[in-house]
Subunit: 290 residues, 2 copies
């Protein structure tokens, strides 16, 4: 059995109907991969959560408590998804938050998604979305609960079609690439690895950050930049990242067919090596402080 | 006792922790004034909810069922607030909505807010907010659950200070007025009543719509337009509207002191007259179809 939920440390399936996460999306989340009983890149997830807390002015949970709860839900799971939601809690009058508030944390364990096998190997088809995320520098990069733009973008296509794309790419109001609805995007141009800046919209993924660090350590030029639609189409390789999928090569962008190239394969190797090093470190049992 | 909640027609205080309203803000809400056992401008609230359902692709609830539930919670209440939340329900994988989904409706009755007495008469102080709402035409005008921008704006000041403002005004990326964090704004210029267009951001309020209609019927020129910061400062009168407050005259905008003028008073009279006509109609018992 892999479906289970802890709300403020207690096993429960329901929350207060007056929670501000429901009323306003007043909170944050993390979607984490559990592999062999441990969360991958837990420190990066917690660091992003802490950044989000700072931006929204929500008191972060006690790190030791949170990690104990995460460990309890991850234990014994070969592969599972752990979703953490932290809201500002219940109360307040209208938009004004209660002072002091009592944030609420929810941990949901879900089955590993049944993504079609072989996507990391063979790559995926990707479409371009019409939904344009608005600029909001104060919320850019963090993983907050206001996700209607992603829902609207994801509703643009159905997954049930025979040759349905696995993901859709979104463009900002200037026509520059932001990323996928649920993933970050990288392009390869003349041996350099590029990914969109996320200072106006988008979510700064944990795999995105891990990969940029790994690339730099391996001597592969990698940087954040502005990527216009033309640059996307001119890319030699394209790939997508997130905490659950790792790296998916893009083998088709709308009508354009791409080869899964050597840089993408190199990045997959670097990411796997990083995960293995992390697993070795976890065996030490050193607690992570965000 | 005025606090009570109905979830899908049943008395309950908790919802499924997997509701998409919590995870993504994937839903809509209405905040309604109950006066003498009936919701004010119910038809306008339901019409906006239906518009929101169409935009988000959420199946609207059965109107007769919803109205029966609203009537049950409003009955016997001299003054109360009724908040309706409609979400896409639970489920789906990630952002992709479940097909077909089962939307969830929640009705919460809350005590009438303890706003300082005399605000309609004496007017309120208003501040200018730094938080800039992003442009999102696909969500503009409707009352969806992605409200972090309003929460951030409302956190810019504390209500506990002696001479705290009652509301804050927000400006879009071009520097044009959008409205208050929880209200629509009107300005009076040379006898004309103007309010910001809401095609890129903001919520199209029920009182805003009622007032524009009433003004036109009464021969007062009234229109939607672009209102720059300078135009706001040059206004002879300013007032705020929403379903709970009705019309609040603005008597101070940051450091600028305004008189509560004749046009604002005229608008208050028109709004009251409309509410009274509506109450007479309600006595007929004719059901409202959105």
């Amino acid at each position: 059995m892999s479906g289970e939920a802890l709300i403020d440390g207690r096993s429960a399936a329901r929350i207060d109907v007056r929670d501000r996460g429901l009323h306003y999306g007043d909170g944050l989340f993390e979607t984490m991969a559990v592999v062999d009983g441990a969360v991958r890149r837990l420190a990066a997830h917690l660091a992003r959560l802490w950044t989000g807390c700072e931006r929204l002015g929500i008191a972060p949970p006690d790190p030791g408590l949170l990690q104990a709860e995460i460990a309890a839900l991850a234990a014994g799971q070969q592969r599972a998804v752990l979703k953490l939601i932290l809201t500002r809690g219940s109360g307040g009058r209208g938009y004004a938050p209660p002072e002091p508030g009592t944030p609420r944390r929810m941990l949901l364990r879900e089955p590993w998604p049944g993504y079609a096998a072989g996507r990391c190997e063979d790559g995926v088809a990707v479409r371009l979305c019409h939904t344009v995320p608005g600029d909001q520098p104060r919320l850019a990069g963090i993983k907050h609960l206001n996700r209607l733009e992603q829902v609207l973008a994801r509703r643009e296509w159905s997954a049930s079609a025979e040759d349905a794309p696995a993901e859709g790419l979104m463009f900002d109001g200037r026509g520059d690439v932001v990323g996928g609805t649920m993933s970050n995007v990288f392009i390869v141009r003349e041996g350099r690895v590029l990914t969109p800046r996320l200072d106006r919209c988008g979510v700064a993924g944990t795999v995105r950050a891990a990969l940029m660090q790994a690339a730099m350590r391996a001597g592969v030029p990698c940087q954040e930049t502005t990527i216009a639609r033309d640059a996307l189409y001119a890319a030699q390789e394209i790939f997508l990242t997130n905490a659950l999928i790792g790296i998916w090569p893009v083998r088709r962008l709308e009508d354009r067919v791409l080869a899964v190239g050597p840089v993408t394969r190199h990045m997959q190797t670097l990411l796997d090596a990083g995960a293995n090093r992390e697993a070795d470190r976890d065996a030490d049992g050193t607690p992570i402080r965000p």
